[in-house]
Symmetry: C2
Subunit: 421 residues, 2 copies
């Protein structure tokens, strides 16, 4: 650790962030919202500069032979900048969770004990190619009074540098403390290793990106981590399902946006309705250009599809590929979900009251649905107005995280001379 050449630079950034955090935690909502609006304005007026820097990243990405998908994630155009800007403006309009007294009660000895929301302190964000995460994460942290240290992917370094420059200056000019928003400018992976163990300076690490990145962070960090995102999600169509509804839900969960974590990856179908349901839904899915991979029984019902391997059931495809399995009952479906799933989003389609209730109770996941698409697991869809990610761990936050999930609490106690006897 001590031999890592980035230790000094990162510790310095950490110490500066700590100082900023103490000031940020006591900034009024008014100043924070002005800062967010100033950030939005500056991003808007300097859009051309950002796009130019992004062109450099895209060019070197093409040279390195990045995939089309990656290049698309990396790409910023006017539309995407407009989205980032409007995200910041929405944030400014939301209620500040900091300072909320969640509850307060009086003890028999007269002590008044209250629990109040406070910022977490310093948030470390480790992410990949999407430069919009830079703006989103910085905005969310500023709104909640947290300092942030950003570590984006090397592919986006030019975009991230210019974006951080712009929003950081705008925030400071509007009254936010210096160093509230900092970017780690080296793209060497060694720097991440320092960050993972900066317990002295970081209150939490949030990794956003693919399974590999998240795994690395979870396995190596000693700073508390909020694990986000990996979703091997299932839709189980029960024997009592309304099959018309089931078709719509299955097609939506798989196809509406296949590259995201709340899209379905495996379809589980009760044997009693498989013959009625599978050929019909198969046709719809094939029309949507979905590649189907089924168990033996499924293959008999939908001719011409591939066979699903154990690995397929364990894979988050993030693509137009769908594994299918026929099950004997809900219990088998739930066992399959717990064995292969990642605890993200799981849905049952059923008209049976008892099974609906059981599924909600028995399935251990961040979001469990009856008769709706898994695609709704999302801070905006749930009505939070903002989202920092979707937690798949159980500590601190689970499921879509909005502004309150970026806060901690402290107890405040009003006494009049109480001592303990």
């Amino acid at each position: 650790m001590d031999e890592n050449k980035y230790t000094e630079e990162l510790y310095r950034k950490g110490a500066l962030a700590k100082i900023a955090a103490r000031k940020l935690g006591n900034l009024s909502s008014q100043v924070k919202d002005s800062a967010l609006l100033a950030m939005a304005e500056q991003l808007e007026s300097q859009a051309e500069k950002i796009i130019a820097a992004n062109q450099l990243d895209l060019a070197s990405g093409q040279q390195k032979g990045l995939s089309k998908t990656l290049l698309d994630r990396l790409m910023l155009n006017e539309n995407r900048i407009v989205e980032m800007v409007s995200g910041l403006r929405t944030l400014a309009s939301l209620t500040d969770p900091v300072g909320e007294v969640i509850s307060m009660w009086t003890r028999p000895n007269g002590l008044q004990v209250g629990k109040v929301r406070v910022p977490l302190g310093v948030v470390g964000m480790i992410y990949e190619a999407r430069p919009n995460v830079t703006v989103d994460a910085a905005g969310l942290c500023l709104k909640t009074g947290n300092a942030i240290i950003l570590r984006g992917g090397s592919e986006a370094i030019n975009s991230n540098k210019i974006i951080t420059d712009i929003i950081s200056s705008a925030a400071v000019e509007a009254g936010a403390p210096e160093n509230s928003i900092q970017l780690i400018e080296t793209t060497d992976r060694e720097a991440v290793n320092v960050m993972l163990k900066m317990n002295k300076y970081l209150d939490v690490l949030i990794p956003r990106g693919g399974a590999g990145l998240i795994q690395t962070v979870v396995e190596n960090a000693t700073v508390p981590v909020i694990e986000t995102g990996v979703g091997n999600c299932h839709v189980y169509v029960d024997e009592s399902a309304n099959l018309e509804m089931a078709k719509k839900i299955v097609v939506n969960a798989k196809c509406q946006r296949p590259g995201v974590c709340n899209a379905a990856e495996t379809l589980l179908v009760h044997r009693a309705i498989a013959e009625d349901f599978l050929p019909a839904v198969g046709e719809l899915l094939v029309k949507e250009e979905v590649e189907l991979r089924g168990c033996q029984e499924t293959m008999a019902l939908i001719p011409g599809i591939k066979s699903a391997s154990v690995e397929d059931y364990a894979t988050e495809f993030l693509d137009l590929i769908f594994a299918i399995k026929i099950v004997s009952d809900m219990e088998e479906a739930i066992d399959h979900i717990h064995y292969y799933g990642t605890g993200h989003s799981e849905a049952i389609v059923t008209e049976n009251y008892t099974r609906a209730q059981e599924f909600l109770r028995l399935v251990d996941a961040a979001a469990v649905y009856v008769n709706a698409s898994t695609r709704f697991t999302d801070g905006f869809q749930f009505g939070f107005g903002a989202e920092i990610g979707i937690s798949t761990q159980k500590l601190h936050a689970r499921g879509p995280m909005g502004l309150p999930e970026l806060t901690s609490t402290k107890f405040i106690i009003f006494g009049n001379g109480q001592i303990r006897i």
Copy 2:
């Protein structure tokens, strides 16, 4: 890791705990409470056996030359068993947090989204010499539907083995799943290293004990940790304090039970009242056999006391030793608290409204007091009816943790065919 000879044993325990956890999570409160009562009854009726096993631990502790304090922590007598038993009975009488729907709302598209409390899953507990932690932790986890893997100190191994045998059998007989409560029977430290990285099986690790243990766990664990306990707590006596009240609070915070984390370790006094206050409170403290260590100015006001070093200000004495410092104003006091404190419990004594409010707002700690002793930072004193520890971190829980802090949440979503557009 893979070469650790305890990997196999611990992974097996982990896998068994996971299975138990799934069942425990769906056990009714009724069955869980019967199990708690059965555990209490069996501990009571087998008290003699426990005391006999404890004698073995005490004898080998004496042979190893353990300190008096450690031997006292290790010791079980009838009274202490009665306390453990009554703790379990209290737990049985408390409301089960599992299944509580914290909130539920309807989205514009008709989706009903609810947030419900669920168990964390499998809790790993790493602690030191106190065998009563075995019972407390097992009881708290059973009540909240969590499986537990216990790892107590080697000094208490005989006590822990018999206690775990008794409570585990009692719980199973009363309907709890097998392996809900497991003890790691080896006392080799190598086993802890496996436990710290059992992310596959453990949802959280809770270390309880001295600063060294907690540090080791925090620095080496990849499993999410709830950091507990270390308290370098301060009382700041402001210039406007009611000095009679201040004396009582200071003496109570230091002396009522000096060996615990919420006892005060440093007294900060505003210069304007130091001459009036320090000699008087010094006399009271000396009468209580407190060793005082002061700054230069303090030494002039209380003749004969030792000089306080920087290290003294940074130390959690857990003993009748008290560091004292005179400060120019509240700002200096708060800076001192943030520089040396551990974010546990901090108190101001003041009659000044503005400074009281500022202290509550500006001090970054789990519990911040106005005009009361720091000794109240405790789950029972706060009215939770139970306590698993006092968190000094910001993620998940901060301050005294009761039953809800041993739970997570999941979203349950009731739809009627909604798909995302």
